[in-house]
Amino acid sequence: MQLVTNDHVSKPSSARRLKKIGQYAFLIVLMLIVVSPFLLGFWTSFLPTSQISKGALWGKLSLANYWAAFTTTPILRYLFNSIVIASLTTVAQVVFCSMSAYAFVFLKFKGRKFLFYAFLATMMLPFEAEVIPNFMTVKSMGLLNHFAVMVVPFMATAFGTFMLRQSFLQIPKELKEAADIEGLNHWQFYYRITLPYSRISIVTLAAYSFLTSWNQYLWPMLTTFSDNFRPVQDGLRQLQSSETFNNWGMIQASACIVVIPTLIVLFIGQHYFKAGLNEGSVK
């Protein structure tokens, strides 16, 4: 719903003021519902576990839990692993998906339609339903327990291709024609026009694949066996299940440490999603 009160009102009537208060109240309630699990997590990460296990939500606040997480658990190593894996996956996905999307939009070749439908169909096939043979494949490729095992199978996705294809389709056909007249070949047009033109979609896909890779859970659980390669998701799972004492404070601190990089990626990505970047290209 759009409200039309987006402008300065010199003397707001009391009805308007009441309405505004109501709007904010509703926003705040919704916001609390959404963020309360975070707040609870952040808050307790500063509390001593002894307090938490008594059921108390107050106590002396300190960074002790964070210190414990950094020093007694491999959380930093997990973070490092995840960053390596997610970054590699992201770069590969952006490159390969943009290339294949380019082919579907700007190249004419036999079987294009068929291939495209085949791509579309794979979007319905859940990776989770294919882990068994995939596990066997990476095993026979000797990739188990390496970064590669968490990167290689995800270097290209049908979803990414589809998403970028949609975005490339928005490129005015005149830009391609103008480039043809100037004699650009496909590589040049791909690199110098298509990618910069679609940078919002590229960033979106990058953010999306980074987060998806970061969120990988089942696959690394099946394919990594040492802390040197375990990403955060499984690292946290390990921490949680190896904790016999219910050291809530430290676990919450670890969770907070893990959530921060993704929140940063998200907020940066969001900041970038400004509308209107391609305005003025065509009428």
Partner: protein, 427 residues
């Protein structure tokens, strides 16, 4: 923080990856052992890796076998012995014993037998436990409740739990029994019932199981009644359940629970109150048949080079020497399997100061081994545990006991049939 010992400048050390499933103080102690071992010599470098629960580890071992990801030496739980043995993923421990003329007599007979087949040692006993019953002795005292007998019956325990509930005015929960397949196995063992045919697989490959036997039913009945009466509180199953029941017990919010003796380390270090331990309870009017040992043993993978295997063997020996077993028992509650360990001052002091930690040992000592109380030698035990655990969940949630057990039995039998066929164990 991954537990590497500093490598020396000389010849590169042979890396020995060691997979284990220990948590809490036991995990810390294993890291310490690895560090000490690494410091004690220059040829090998032990790299311990935690691989989650016993259940998860079995498949990880099987599925990584033959790849660079597989471990050189690994810990695997008691009931996985048959599966790993048939899968032929390990060099029989007997091989190293013979080559090294290692004196196996220093190892206690029951665990030795448990991990042998045809008189040959397949794996090295390492962490050996007994299921026991824990109670908060100080709490009972404060509430003026008489501690349960050392060898209690179901109703003995019920009585204590009831009093705890009543006298604490509901502030303290009476007891809990985790929904845990291992405990179910022990209820059957203690009632002298064979879960699997062919004498629990000791006389041949099992072709069927039967959970639906009187002893099992009685135990389930006991639990269900107590749940209904709110004398048993449900913490669920899995590792969360274990941490939650532990946390509640340590916080004085739970009076009694049944678990592996491996919890003693945790309990004694984390508890201000006095800990009470007694035997695994038996059905009323029925003598306890005794329970089997729990825990796990050490295996040496056969997909690694000779020298790596040698290093693994050295480390295995290191872990089961008398001194380390004594330390192990003190820290964790696993019973030392090296007979000499009893003479170590560490253990002597421990028993003197905390006599109740000797209870698991006493329980084991008075058990007359038979095929019902010597563990199950069967493949797919993980599935059996999941199924019986589910049956227990149904029982907790007021399901029909007979039906629950029957369903689990049928499912398991189907799985056994398929597995035996697929693995070529039977036609």
């Amino acid at each position: 923080a991954i537990g590497h010992a500093s490598a020396t400048a000389t010849a590169p050390r042979e890396k020995i990856v060691f997979w284990h499933e220990m948590t809490g103080p036991a995990a810390d102690q294993l890291k310490k052992f690895a560090t000490q071992f690494n410091a004690s010599q220059k040829k090998y470098q032990i790299v311990p890796e935690f691989e989650g629960t016993y259940n998860e580890a079995v498949q990880k071992i099987l599925q990584t076998h033959g790849t660079s990801a597989s471990p050189a030496i690994f810990q695997s739980m008691d009931v996985s012995t048959s599966e790993l043995y048939h899968a032929k993923v390990a060099t029989p421990m007997q091989h190293f014993i013979d080559k090294d003329h290692y004196n196996m007599n220093q190892i206690a007979a029951v665990p030795r037998a448990f991990y042998s087949q045809g008189g040959k040692q397949i794996s090295m006993p390492f962490n050996t436990s007994q299921p026991v019953l824990y109670y908060n002795a100080s709490l009972l005292k404060r509430l003026g409740i008489k501690a349960p007998a050392k060898d209690p019956s179901y109703s003995d325990i019920t009585a204590v739990a009831k009093q705890i509930q009543a006298k604490s005015k509901g502030k303290v929960n009476g007891m809990t029994v985790e929904e845990y397949g291992w405990l179910f196995e022990q209820f059957m063992a203690n009632s002298n019932e064979h879960m699997a045919n062919n004498e629990n697989g000791r006389q041949g490959v099992p072709t069927a199981v039967n959970f639906d036997q009187p002893g099992a039913k009685k135990a389930m009945q006991w639990i269900q009644t107590n749940v209904k009466n709110k004398d048993i509180i449900n913490f669920g199953s899995g590792s969360t359940a274990e941490t939650n029941e532990m946390a509640a017990f340590l916080a004085g919010k739970l009076g009694i629970f049944m678990q592996s003796s491996a919890d003693i380390g945790n309990l004694t270090s984390g508890m201000k109150d006095k800990l009470g331990i007694c035997y695994f309870p038996h059905a009323d009017g029925q003598k306890a048949n005794g329970v089997s040992i729990g825990g796990a043993s050490l295996w040496i993978g056969n997909d690694k080079s000779k020298s790596v295997q040698q290093g693994a063997w050295e480390f295995a020996k290191f872990l089961v020497n008398a001194k380390n077993q004594a330390i192990w028992e003190k820290i964790t509650g696993y019973m030392a399997i090296n007979k000499q360990a009893a003479k170590e001052p560490i253990l002597k002091n421990l028993f003197a100061k905390q006599p109740m930690v000797a209870v698991p040992g006493e329980q084991l000592a008075r058990t007359k081994p038979n095929t019902a109380n010597s563990g199950i030698f069967m493949e797919d035990v993980v599935q059996e545990r999941t199924l019986t655990q589910t049956a227990m969940q149904q029982v907790y949630n007021n399901g029909n006991i007979g039906k629950a057990l029957k369903t689990a039995t049928d499912s398991m039998n189907a799985a056994i049939k398929n597995n035996n066929k697929a693995s070529g164990l039977t036609k």
